[in-house]
């Protein structure tokens, strides 16, 4: 199974161009989407999830035209949006049963077992009888995960699924996702760059609607090896460095500024080589679009 996004463009009525001719090929396994806020990640995911029209371009899941045959896509889709609501006066169990029905699980007994298992998986077994309105943010998020995994989806799209989860829950979710994601396409967006490295076989970086990078995490880091240098400078000097180097990240530490730059060769001048991490790839890719000096 393969998802092919071809030259997808989308402009909102307020003039913001959310997607600019994005082309991607996504295979089975986990696929990470990285990008700053407002980069177009959610737009892309919503478009693949049949919730939004594109101005141009196409999306194909094998031979299935995603933009046209929405119902067929939805039958194999699991989707967890970034921000969603629930019916406050209904229990998680009832709600999941309802969703299971909509996902085509006709047998009541099967639904019951599946709902119970899913709730256990997301650690809501004890709270399944409670009304969704009483759920905390994290519990609600886990409920969202459960509904997205319902009904053997072949295409799972999860938009910042770990927001609001504590570290243990986050781990638990990723494990769950990997377990399920072996034979499916899982598209995952996140702000936590390291997560992509540990989880995803492929990833893409989007910024201001443009695809900045698409590839595997480790080779991308490989590319930067020996090209990342670091130095501790005074705060006041940052403008100088910004003008003279390709500055990719800054970090304030005890009044001084730790900067990382990208350079083909050792720039000298007090810079020391550093081991490249995925974050460097990320910042390096988006540096041309975004001012990364975060002072």
């Amino acid at each position: 199974m393969q998802l092919v996004v071809n030259s997808l463009s989308k402009t909102y009525p307020n003039g913001v161009q959310a997607l600019k001719k994005v082309s991607l090929t996504i295979n089975q396994g986990m696929f990470g989407l990285l990008g700053p806020n407002g980069a177009g990640k959610s737009s892309l995911m919503r478009t693949i999830a049949t919730l939004q029209e594109a101005d141009e371009g196409s999306v194909f899941l094998d031979d299935l035209d995603v933009l046209k045959n929405k119902t067929e896509v939805r039958q194999i889709l699991g989707y967890l949006p970034q921000d969603f609501g629930v019916y406050p006066r209904i229990s998680a169990e009832q709600m999941l049963d309802h969703i299971a029905q909509l996902k085509g699980i006709g047998k009541k007994s099967e639904r019951k077992d599946l709902v119970a298992a899913l709730l256990e998986k997301v650690n809501l077994g004890k709270d399944k009888k409670k009304n969704l309105g009483t759920y905390s943010g994290g519990m609600k998020q886990r409920f969202g995960i459960a509904q997205a995994l319902m009904g053997n989806p072949k295409l799972i799209i999860v938009d910042e699924p770990t927001a609001g989860l504590d570290p243990a829950e986050r781990n638990r979710f990723y494990n769950l996702l990997s377990q399920i994601g072996e034979n499916t396409i899982v598209i995952l967006s996140t702000h936590i760059v390291e997560d992509v490295r540990t989880l995803c076989s492929n990833f893409a970086i989007i910024c201001e609607g443009e695809l900045m990078y698409n590839g595997k995490p480790d080779p991308s880091i490989e590319e930067l090896n020996g090209k990342i240098f670091t130095k501790t400078i005074k705060k006041e000097e940052v403008q100088h460095y910004k003008e003279n180097y390709r500055l990719i990240s800054t970090q304030l530490k005890a009044g001084d500024l730790n900067i990382r730059v990208y350079n083909e060769t050792d720039p000298g001048n007090g810079f020391v080589p550093a081991i490249a991490i995925l974050e460097d790839v990320y910042f390096n890719r988006i540096a041309e679009k975004v001012d990364l000096v975060t002072l």
């Binding site: 919730l51 939004q52 119902t71 099967e110 077992d113 998986k121 994290g138």
Partner: protein, 1216 residues
């Protein structure tokens, strides 16, 4: 501390758009109300009179409880809602400052928003005349005090009361939702209470207990004349003042209780801050298991099943909603009350006939249902969006049609249930009344074939609007605006062309006699028309139905285009075709066949009639002297074919060259004059109706001027043959053609009338001015007018005539016309009847009826051994009250023939006709009552007004007053007919119930008179020139009753008999006028009472009688008491506009009475027990009266039976 919080609150409020929206809303509402003159007061009252200002202020301030709930609900709740309580409380603020600062900071805005009414009214009174929406003469002076007084005494206390309630509720419950529920409940409860107190006698109690003082001001000004309403502000005294003080204090007490119970700790210490325990421990087994395998299939009818499941969920979501239940409960409570009480006639309810219940349903229930449907359609569409679950739901595999269909289906289920409720509650109410003739056919047709489709139409419009607007509040706003615009256009702009008003259909009516009759046909076609339109809306909505995140209208259009293909195109085409076909057919019926005219056009036509034809008003025309009619009634076809052979005589002193005939209302007519066709002019051409494009450009009026071949010389006669057709084809825009129906035809002869009829002219001063017609002060000429004296009031075409009527009808029906039934036969499967009325001659005033009647026959032998047959023709199911009619006939015939002279006919009939028209009318030897009048009234309470007896007595009296003595056509002459009949009925009632039990009847007449003159649109004449029903029925009967009380019943009867002898059965002029009756009465009135006759007939006289003080002391003898009374009296004279002046002198006879406790007679009727009753001659001012009575006195008073006209009869009696 108070100030900082107060100022903060004000700044906060100033930034809220809601503040301005509320202000603007009420500003616009009041501007529009006044600028467009949307206030229902009589023509002589200024739109901005102090009375109207006060009433409008009170009304708006009541509805502003919605504003006060919205504004006062938030100030405390805000800190809970926005979760600011977490840090806000850490600031050094005091509870007192917080509470009062928030309260006053918000309350001041409630008041500021309320000032919008002042500005709105002020602006409205300026805009109205400028744009010509209201005549400048309807705008009086705008004194600042007219605004400030009601603002201070009505608006501020009302808002303070509601603000305190809502502020208190939030403070105590810590829940903001409770105020929305409670504001709706408060409105419902208040409207409900208003509804319930309609019949309560203790008006004083209502004046005090109405928290918004709406009833207080209505009751205080109930009998204000137009002149008084224009100049007097409602005095802030007594009960009105107490009312204001009481309810402001209640508000204050609520506020103080709230304050003393308020503490930060209690208010903010929420119990839902329970610690959430994070469960971190890994649960290994579940972690490792794989998910159970499931079978996923969308095959077969899976989606359809899903749709029904979803529809059920949608339905349950609605019915489980608290607000839904509150509104539904309100609707049901009103429905039960309406069913229970119905529409009483003289305070007497009908039995709960199914046909009546279905009418009462629309009083209140339908409004609640409308609110539910419009509101919950929006809620249903936006539910997923509101909870933000849509983003998940929209990505689920449910196809669009399932999502869309399930919402619709859920609403349809709701509509079905709401349509069923009236049947369940109706049957319940019928059972509780012990009434078991459930008419299930009526229930089913009404509820499932008319109401249910109407609900569906409402749903379809709201549904489409919400889908297209795609925003909940925007959708509600657009939907409500659509309905309000339609309502305003129909009710205030005189537009009612149903083809342009979504979901509107002609009015219709259920009748026991006629079922839904022909009135259902139009309803069916219009409902079909609008239902198809609704489906078209649904198709549009389906195409634009929104799923996922849609960003621009361009994109929606693109999606819509994608969706609009294949089957949906075909469906749309078929619907559109159907809509056009049904629309064309409906148009053909309404406009082409039936010549629809708008209300304005009807008015314009009467202007054209007057302007073109007025010149013919005084030309001489021949009069009918005998009439032979052959009339064939075809009830199923709603057609009557009439052949009239008329003898005309020239009774004028000049030859007559032309014959003017007006056949308005007839389908067609032809005329032969002495067996020859004669030529005619058509002097009046109307403009074509503005919607009737396919009719001829000029609409020829049926007013024709026939040229006589040889002039008809004075005294000569001619034979005229008229062949005419009265027929109704197809259906009309509204309920019409109710005289010829399937069962219960009741039509007025079907012949053209002769000459110009001034009754067709516009009467309203305002409208006459608008159309530049000359002022018309009085309908009839003065009593000295020669032509008036020579013309009869009820028909100017004839003096007294003889009839010979042959009428046929279908085999299942019986036809009745006035006169003796000479012959009856069957021919060609039809029933034929031949009626003759040749002795005596009667006035030309008759109707012909045909229906499937049951018959009751009886007879009575009068004192002079004359046998009189009694015949009642009634609907078989309406036999309950026949005995009341019969006993009134028997008592009346005996008594009237004894005192006024013999009864002139061989039989007296009473007939029932369908309730499309509501009146009772007396024709020669026939009285007709509409179905809703008495036939099915529930007279089981003996204290209720037995109007079955009373009104029958009245109508029977017309056989003497009206048909023996026929009044002429001059000013005030109708009192000969109506005042004498009503007075005679009072006397017959007195013979039945006794002199001391007449107060109930007299007070009814008094109330009707006072209410009538308070709503006068032109001017009130003195009685001898009376020009209004409230004078000739109510005032007339009252003053004649008062007169017989002073001069003796026998003396007055003697005068009336002499008058009758002088004028009865005059075949030729002069006919009597009110001055003639006055002359006969005057002869018998002694000098000591002349003042009364003059006061009542030639002046408008009002008394102010009241008991000021009373004291009872036992005299020491057993059962004997001394009663000391202080009474005051005053006499006022009013002019025709209602301005009053004290009478210069007064020394009048007035009753003073003392009463023991009421008792019951053997029938359970309440009996008044006077232990002292005597006439005193009293001058204006206070009087002390002491009397010794035997028996225990419980009440005493001045003019206790209200024989005199007194604006406040309630204070005439005082409990001791």
């Amino acid at each position: 501390m108070f100030w900082q919080i107060f100022i903060f609150e004000i700044k906060y409020r100033l930034k809220r758009p809601a503040t301005y929206i509320y202000f603007l809303t009420f500003f616009l509402l009041s501007t529009i109300c006044f600028a467009a003159g949307l206030i229902g007061v009589s023509e002589k009252i200024y739109y901005n009179s102090p009375f109207v200002d006060a009433a409008v202020f009170a009304f708006f301030s009541f509805f502003m409880l919605l504003v006060s709930s919205a504004v006062m609900g938030v100030p405390l709740y805000r800190d809970i809602d926005y979760n600011t309580k977490g840090y806000y409380l850490t600031y050094p603020i005091t509870e007192r400052g917080y509470f009062w600062g928030r309260y006053f900071g918000s309350f001041i805005f409630v008041i500021l928003i309320a000032t919008s009414i002042i500005f709105g009214v002020y602006l409205g009174t300026f805009l109205g005349p400028i744009f010509g929406w209201v005549p400048a003469s309807r705008i009086g002076p705008n004194h600042l005090v007219y605004f400030l007084q009601p603002f201070l005494y009505l608006v501020i206390p009302n808002l303070f009361f509601t603000s305190s309630i809502f502020f208190g509720l939030v403070a105590l419950t810590r829940n903001v939702k409770v105020i929305y529920t409670s504001s709706i409940l408060l409105i419902i409860a208040y409207l409900l209470t208003n509804f319930l107190i309609r019949d309560i006698e203790k008006k004083d109690l209502i004046k005090i207990l109405d928290p918004f003082a709406l009833n207080t001001i209505t009751l205080e000004t109930r009998f204000y004349t137009p002149a008084e309403k224009n100049t007097l502000m409602i005095p802030i005294t007594k009960l009105f003042l107490y009312n204001r003080l009481i309810w402001s204090s209640v508000g204050l007490v609520i506020l103080l209780i709230t304050y003393f119970n308020f503490s930060f700790k209690r208010f903010f210490n929420s119990d839902n801050l329970k610690k959430q325990i994070a469960i971190i421990g890994e649960d290994l087994p579940s972690y490792l298991t794989t998910l159970p395998a499931v079978t996923i299939s969308f095959a077969g009818n899976y989606y359809r099943r899903i749709m029904f499941t979803l529809a059920k969920t949608e339905y349950l979501n609605i019915v489980r909603d608290v607000y839904f239940r509150v509104i539904l409960l309100g609707g049901c409570v009103f429905l039960i009350l309406d069913f229970w009480i119905g529409s009483p006639v003289y305070g007497v309810s009908n039995y709960p006939l199914t046909v009546n219940l279905m009418e009462y349903k629309s009083y209140d229930y339908m409004l609640f249902m409308f609110i539910i449907i419009v509101f919950y359609t929006g809620e249903t569409i936006h539910r997923d969006k509101t909870t933000r679950f849509a983003i998940i739901n929209d990505a689920l595999p449910t196809p669009d049609w399932v999502l869309y269909g399930s919402k619709l289906l859920g609403l349809v289920m709701l509509a079905f249930v709401l349509a069923t409720i009236p049947m369940i509650l109706g049957i319940l109410v019928q059972l509780l009344h012990g009434y078991t003739h459930f008419n299930m056919y009526v229930y089913f047709v009404e509820l499932y074939a008319i109401t249910f489709p109407q609900f569906i139409e409402m749903i379809m419009l709201s549904f489409a609007v919400h889908v297209l607007v795609n925003n909940k509040f925007g959708g509600h706003a657009v939907a409500i605006v659509i309905w309000v615009v339609m309502f305003v256009l129909r009710n205030f702009a005189n537009m009612n062309y149903n083809l342009f008003f979504y979901s509107y259909a002609p009015n219709y009516m259920w009748s026991d006699m006629d079922g839904i009759g022909h009135t259902g046909i139009g309803v069916f076609w219009f409902n079909l028309y609008w239902t198809i339109f609704g489906y078209i809306l649904l198709v549009i909505a389906a195409v634009f139905h929104n799923r996922g995140v849609v960003t621009s209208y361009k994109e929606r259009l693109k999606i819509a285009r994608q969706r609009f293909h294949g089957p949906i195109r075909i469906v749309a085409a078929i619907l559109l075709f159907g809509f056009v076909v049904i629309g064309v057919y409906t148009y053909y019926n309404v406009s082409y066949i039936n010549n629809y005219l708008s209300a304005d056009e009807v008015e314009l036509r009467s202007v054209a009639y007057e302007k073109t034809l007025k010149k013919f008003e005084n030309i001489d025309q021949p009069k009918v002297t005998s009439l032979k009619i052959f009339s064939d009634i075809y009830p199923r076809q709603r057609k009557v074919i009439v052949k009239g052979l008329i003898t005309l005589v020239n009774k004028a002193d000049k030859p007559i060259n032309t014959l003017h005939l007006d056949g308005t209302g007839l389908e067609s007519y032809t005329v032969k004059y002495n067996d020859k066709n004669i030529s005619a002019d058509y002097p009046l051409l109307y403009e074509r109706g503005k919607f009737n494009w396919f009719r001829s450009k000029r609409d020829t009026s049926k007013y024709r001027i026939y040229h006589l071949p040889i002039p008809l010389k004075p005294g000569d006669s001619a034979k005229v043959e008229v062949n005419s057709v009265v027929a109704y084809k197809g259906f009309t825009n509204d309920l019409t053609g109710t005289d010829i129906v399937y069962n219960g035809t009741f039509y007025a002869g079907g012949l053209p009338s002769i000459g110009y009829n001034p009754d067709n002219e516009l009467a309203s001063d305002e409208k006459r001015k608008k159309y530049k017609l000359p002022e018309k002060k009085d309908e009839y000429p003065p009593q000295t007018d020669k032509k008036g004296i020579e013309t009869l009031l009820f028909n100017s075409n004839a003096d007294l005539v003889t009839y010979d009527i042959t009428v046929s009808t279908s085999a299942d029906q019986m036809a009745i016309a006035p006169g003796v039934l000479d012959k009856q036969w069957k021919q060609n499967g039809r029933n034929y009847y031949h009626y003759v009325q040749n002795s005596p001659s009667v006035d030309l005033f008759f109707d012909i009826l045909s229906a499937r009647y049951a018959t009751l026959k009886d007879n009575v032998t009068l004192y002079n051994k004359q046998q009189t047959g009694l015949e009642i023709y009634y609907h078989p199911a309406h036999a309950t009250n026949l005995n009341r009619f019969v006993s009134a006939y028997k008592d009346g015939l005996q008594y009237y023939s004894l005192v006024y002279g013999p009864f002139q006919f061989k039989q007296m009939r009473l007939l029932e006709f369908p309730k499309y028209r509501a009146f009772a009318q007396s024709f020669p030897n026939t009285v007709s009552y509409a179905e809703g009048f008495g036939w099915s009234a529930d007279f089981s309470d003996p204290d209720k007004f037995d109007y079955g007896y009373f009104v029958t007595a009245h109508e029977l009296a017309h056989q003497w007053w009206g048909h023996q003595v026929v009044p002429n056509r001059t000013r005030g002459s109708n009192l000969i007919s109506e005042s004498l009949a009503e007075y005679t009925a009072l006397i017959l009632t007195q013979r039945k119930y006794g002199k001391d039990n007449m107060k109930r009847f007299l007070k009814q007449e008094l109330d009707d008179y006072l209410r009538g003159r308070a709503n006068e649109t032109k001017k009130e004449n003195v009685f001898i020139n009376c020009n209004r029903p409230y004078e000739w029925y109510n005032k007339g009967s009252l003053i004649l009753y008062g007169l017989q009380d002073l001069i003796g019943l026998d003396t007055l009867n003697k005068a009336l008999r002499e008058f009758k002898e002088a004028y009865a059965f005059h075949p030729n002029p002069p006919f009597p006028g009110s001055n003639d009756l006055y002359r006969y009465i005057d002869k018998h009135v002694p000098d000591s009472v002349k003042y009364y006759l003059d006061d009542t007939w030639k002046k408008i006289t009002l008394y102010e009688n009241k008991v000021l003080d009373s004291k009872v002391t036992p005299t020491g003898k057993k059962g004997e008491y001394k009663v000391d009374l202080t009474v005051s009296t005053r006499k006022m004279y009013a002019d025709s506009a209602g301005n009053e002046k004290p009478a210069p002198t007064m020394n009048d006879y007035i009753d003073v009475g003392v009463f023991a406790a009421d008792s019951k007679d053997k029938d359970g009727r309440t009996i008044t027990n006077p232990i002292y009753l005597k006439k005193y001659k009293l001058t204006a001012g206070e009087h002390h009266i002491s009397v010794i009575v035997k028996g225990t006195p419980v009440k005493a008073g001045i003019d206790p039976y209200v024989k005199l006209i007194d604006r406040i009869p309630d204070d005439n009696i005082k409990d001791l």
